[in-house]
Homo-oligomer: 340 residues x 2
């Protein structure tokens, strides 16, 4: 178990949480939240569209407010906390990164699919040149073995990532799987190891503790679980749990509880819970963005959306292969016809 | 890890969940839920007031429907599932137990504070004589050491309990603590070991997996987390997780997901989430029934309700000692005055 200090928390409600409120953050909300998080002494606050810089689009959903305005507001509202941005190469650009840095963001988290770390090289190097702290963010980490994960993480380390995150984008990991992966990374890397959990299987907290037990020291949380799918590891609860374990985060427990209750809860359109859809996504281990496509295909072919999603998980379909959803639905319809 | 079959689930939404809806279950709701749970092949369904047989009262909250009518309805609605009742000696009586058995309930769960197993003797023995399957239910198990827990569990075993449950009434356990306790019980007892979790620290699922890893084979869940505090281990999610781990429960995943979405979710007055109050209760490790008293005392003495609850946890105040709440509030007010 980690001693003394040194689990550093990144609060993602103002980025991942943007999914949960259809990217409708206002400058006023971000200012109020960032100020209160700063006062609670949260080390990093991530601010961006849910899909990272440049995410505001027809495909990913338009933001109500230009994300650079939100980043600027968060920078202005904070003294202690550092502002982080997420960037998915292909969605966000080097220019976006430079603009964020110019506004005062000082951590760049460069996210790729777990098998595509090589596309992060230029962005991580640029972030370094801009003087930013750098994070490599391996999304959908549950889709590969520990060995493959180590290989990809080492690429990010070689590009200059100060931290490499195991990202459970679909909320699909089980605690023993997290342990195995964090342990393997801890043995292979010199840089910090991070963990970003989702709660689709009600294991965000359990997995986070498993990660910490094996040596992860950078942890993502979202206040009131505000995030994609069933949301993330609930920050204020995590601070309470770590406090009970005498693991130091530097964050004030009462203040972070109050941010949750008084600032974030009122923003929520509906409380985060694990419903049939988010459970199915976690069980299948697929991106939450597949849900809408699967529901449409299910209706068209008169098959179960759940069957489609689970089959997509088995076939290891990833973002960008959404056209496979129709194929799978058609095949399931054909199988159902044959078996009647 | 447990092989093949043999995690037997008890669904508690129609008992512990009664807390979450102010004991307002109707015969129609219980009939619909029990029928659907039976169809999903849930082995045990617990039906009673949230505080067990006889709980309907000014002190614990009046039930909308006489609980024996609900038990009768559940028995009528089920073929496969067995109906369980909870009984806290001192609240429910031997006569209540006999009436439940006469109506067809065939599992008696006799619950005591973790240090008071001796009061369960007569009730467990009567349940046995009535031909019921018997469970000893050690509430607030987090308040004692593994050694003390073993001592109390052995008492219940000696009274004829077929299963002894570790009950995390306050949602205060951490996974390593659960492991230690289940392991100690597994080594000391011959009967089944059960685990009943609450989600106040977002660890109901993580703790449940920890318990299973150490040999617990009887697990409580509540559909859609419907239970006291932040609710329980979410049954339909647990079935998905265990299925992913190839641990057999005999429960149909799709059907249990559908019970959650189509029958239980519409009954909920508001979704279960971990708010400031439930987090405080789990962090402090005190009964959820203390909350209202603490809030009142906080207002009267102009102190923080959280400070009161945390102090009550430190002093290991238990149900029946509610008069201590005022004392603690007064002391905190005095301390605040002195320190100003």
């Amino acid at each position: 178990m980690t001693k003394e200090t040194d689990i550093k928390i990144t609060e993602v409600a103002l980025r991942d949480g943007s999914h949960a409120i259809s990217h409708q953050y206002t400058v006023e909300q971000v200012t109020a939240a960032a100020k209160a998080l700063d006062d609670a002494r949260v080390p990093y606050i991530e601010v961006a569209h849910g899909d990272g810089l440049g995410g505001s689009s027809l495909q990913y959903g338009f933001s109500k407010t230009d994300e650079f305005k939100l980043i600027e507001a968060a920078v202005s509202a904070t003294d202690f906390s550092k502002i982080a941005v997420l960037l998915l190469p292909g969605i966000g650009t080097i220019e976006d990164l430079k603009e964020a840095a110019a506004l005062g963001a000082n951590m760049a988290r460069v996210a790729t699919h777990v098998t595509e770390a090589d596309v992060s090289e230029q962005h991580l190097q640029t972030a370094k040149e801009l003087g930013m702290e750098t994070v490599g963010f391996l999304m959908m980490s549950h889709m590969v073995s520990a060995e493959k994960l180590v290989e990809q993480a080492k690429l990010m380390e070689s590009y200059g990532a100060d931290t490499v995150y195991v990202v459970d984008s679909a909320g699909a990991f089980l605690p023993h799987q997290v342990k195995e992966r964090i342990k393997a990374l801890r043995e292979a890397l010199s840089v910090n190891i991070g963990f970003h959990g989702h709660n689709n299987l009600s294991l965000a907290m359990g997995n986070t503790l498993a990660a910490i037990e094996e040596g992860a020291t950078r942890i993502d949380g979202s206040i009131r679980c505000l995030g994609a799918g069933a949301g993330n590891t609930q920050t204020e609860v995590l601070i309470g749990v770590l406090d009970r374990m005498e693991i130091e985060t530097g964050i004030d427990l009462y203040k972070i509880m109050d941010v949750a209750e008084d600032i974030i809860a009122p923003i929520l359109q509906k409380p985060q819970e694990i419903d049939r859809d988010s459970l199915t996504l976690g069980y299948a281990g697929v991106y939450s963005s597949f849900l809408l496509h699967a529901n449409r295909a299910a209706e068209k072919f008169s098959v179960e959306s759940r069957d489609i999603l689970i089959e997509l998980g088995k076939r290891e379909i990833i973002g960008g292969q959404e056209d496979m959803i129709i194929d799978v639905a058609a095949e399931l319809a054909e199988t159902n016809k044959t078996s009647v």
